[in-house]
């Protein structure tokens, strides 16, 4: 079957989201840093909403241990996550402009690589999360930054919240449940946190930045 044209896809989105919001979503570009349980789900939510440009970044390959919560398929085991997710995103949103970087982000390469105005932090290790957040807040104060911290286990979904820490820095999660402490990561609760991050980003794009 032929896929719809760019114009048909846009019209279907504009009909659901409204022309004004869809224009903003189509013009938006978002960087997703880390393509695990948070990042793969965030990127898919943004692609489905019709975000015009996505920059997906990860250095890792798809592993069997990822399949409990990350948006990859068994036949993609061993592929770089950037390539595997690129294929999936293109099936969902064929006209989304997707840039992929198979690289480990660090203090030195972040300022030159992350040119988008909105950045999703979606790493899994606490010190890497802190590195990215500190680097952006210190060196790139004009960016909007949405980060996730605390989504392990099967505690109540309602403890996962979005907080605006400063004007351009939003933090999603319960803030406390560490993957090292108990049950580990379960798809449903990681999805709740990923959805918080994706929704915070869509609200920023829409200009709804007072509270998330």
């Amino acid at each position: 079957m032929c896929i719809p044209t760019r114009e048909e896809m846009y019209a279907a989105l504009a009909e659901r989201h409204g022309e004004e919001l869809q224009k903003k979503l189509s013009a938006a570009s978002v960087a997703v840093c880390g393509l695990g349980g948070l990042g793969s789900n965030i990127a898919i939510a943004l692609a489905r909403a019709g975000v015009g440009s996505l920059h997906i970044i990860d250095f890792d390959k798809v592993d069997i241990s990822n399949l409990n919560r990350q948006q990859y398929f068994p036949e993609q085991l061993g592929m770089y996550k950037t390539d595997a997710l690129y294929d999936t995103l293109k099936r969902i949103a064929p006209y989304c402009d997707i840039t992929r970087d198979c690289i480990k982000l660090n203090d030195e390469n972040i300022p030159s690589l992350l040119t988008e105005s909105i950045i999703a932090e979606a790493f899994d290790k606490a010190d890497q999360k802190a590195m990215l957040v500190n680097c952006i807040l210190e060196k790139m104060p004009g960016k909007y930054l949405v980060s996730g911290s605390g989504m392990a286990g099967i505690g109540s979904s309602n403890t996962i919240k979005t907080r605006r820490i400063t004007e351009r820095f939003y933090l999603c999660g319960d803030g406390v449940t560490d993957v090292a402490d108990g049950l580990g990561l379960v798809s449903s609760r990681v999805l709740v946190c990923a959805a918080h991050e994706a929704n915070a980003i869509i609200r920023i794009i829409a200009g709804e930045t007072d509270a998330c």
């Binding site: 999360k129 820490i165 990681v190």
Partner: protein
């Protein structure tokens, strides 16, 4: 008195570095805002806290 994550403390005159150690945070897993501005990690040791300051320590935990 100064406020850290919404609670009041008697930490006037102490540095950010001393205070976060006393409260048990790992410096590698946090971001610190002082009166709504980021405190660069390199300045934790030299940033002194004063009466009325608002400190926000954002702690990151593993998982994603």
């Amino acid at each position: 008195m100064l406020t850290i994550n919404g609670k009041e403390y008697e930490f006037n005159g102490r540095t950010v570095s001393e205070v976060i150690a006393e409260l048990g945070y790992n410096e590698q897993q946090i971001a610190v805002e002082l009166n709504e501005s980021i405190v660069p990690k390199a300045q934790y040791k030299s940033t002194v806290l004063y009466e009325g300051d608002h400190l926000e320590v954002v702690r990151f935990v593993g998982g994603g």
